[in-house]
């Protein structure tokens, strides 16, 4: 990703990834949008999750995917995983 998008806030970056993956205008997406409103189905969801994993260098587990049904939930989910990654740069110490 470009430096420009890396410097944008996390919510915007998530929306940019979704807009790009879905080939829809960024302006059509807001934090309040649900996947249903954006006509994003489960198969689209797999694509979006894959792109988000690449963008943020995170691993989104299947359980995490199931809690992401709107843009807001997705941003929160990504924020949490990015925070965990930053807190434990060597990976989870389980």
């Amino acid at each position: 990703m470009s430096q420009q998008s890396a410097s944008a806030d996390l919510g915007t970056r998530v929306m940019e990834v979704i807009a790009k993956t879905q080939r829809i205008p960024l302006e059509s997406i807001s934090l309040d949008s649900t996947f249903e409103q954006l006509k994003i189905d489960s198969l689209d969801g797999i694509n979006i999750v894959f792109a988000l994993e690449n963008e943020f260098g995170i691993n989104i587990p299947d359980e995490g995917v199931q809690t992401m049904r709107s843009i807001g939930e997705t941003v929160e989910g990504v924020r949490k995983l990015v925070a965990e990654k930053t807190a434990e740069p060597e990976g989870p110490a389980v």
Partner: protein, 401 residues
Amino acid sequence: MNRVAVTGLGLVCALGNNVAECWERLVAGVCRILPLSDPGSPPYKFSRGAQANAFVPLDHFSEKELIVLERFAQLAAVAAREAVAQSGLTFTEDLADRTAVITGSSIGGQFSEEEGYIRLYREKNSRIAPLTIPRTMSNAGASRISLEFGIHGPVYTVSTACSSSNHALGQAFSMVRGGQAIAAIAGGSEAVFAEGLLRAWEAMRVVSPDVCRPFSIDRRGLSLGEGAGMLVLENWEHAQARGITILGEIIGFGMSSDAHHITQPCVEGPAKSMQWALRDAGLAPERIDYINAHGTGTQANDCIESQAIRLIFGAKADSLPVSSTKSMHGHTLGAAGAIEAITTLLTLRHGIIPPTVNFTSADPSCPLDVVANQARPAALEFAVSNTFAFGGLNASLVFQR
């Protein structure tokens, strides 16, 4: 219209190298979804698969023959050998012209293709192995069977993802029934344990991290498997005149397309497929004694298939045994229909229903009698076997004892 007898069966999968070995384990409820021989680096998100580890190519082919045969074609040929041997057919000139070979394969020869890409893109070597094309073509198994037995009739391959071999069997059934062929070798084969393909399945997020648990509340996806199933279908009178043992009969075939979504199933498509198959067989739903389910172990399939069965079978579904043997031999994609057709015929023949194993507890969204964990003896006359593919393509067969 001719009756269609089944006079030969051949099977290779994770459960064993022939029909007898596989059947013994199916009835014993043995799950052969085991740790992968190569767990991947970095490891795949799933650690298990149903690999046909006991299948050793050199036990069946010379080094020279293997030059042109990928694993999926080897599996197809070996299963066909067993089926033809049991049928006792010899393909004399007339029969050779009037026998069909119709196989199913979802992906064809994946290994040579991946080796080619490694040379091309990783090693920057533009010289690809010269036999890549005949090794990878999806009809390599069908063509090998035709060559090996000298069969000159219609020979082709159907590729409809997980419905491939039910579509192949349905085509062969129609040909023998309609008189275009006297006999047919039909089924399917698949060899899925190639890295690129496994990574693609991993990315789809539909593979269970451990084993598949069809219809169970804690199911987390399918388990991949490899193998082949081949059946010899034969004009009933031709078989009777030879005095050969008839192992069962195919009496109906139904197909439908969801036209709903590329991967998400819907109730109507699978329901129609079963309905058309029953209508083709001339049977009321109440007459069916057993269903071998598609039962992949994914959230969506098992719930939708249960609803489709309830829709077609109504109150009968309360007492209708439905099992998914994928819990033992994995989901063999383009071979699934053939392996499960053989399982269904043996179920009718032996009067014992193989279970759905790895089952822990019932899911209210799958209200079926899934023959949990233990095989069950039963007097059986008619059975249905389902396959539902990505792309929304459904195919159901009806068998009679």
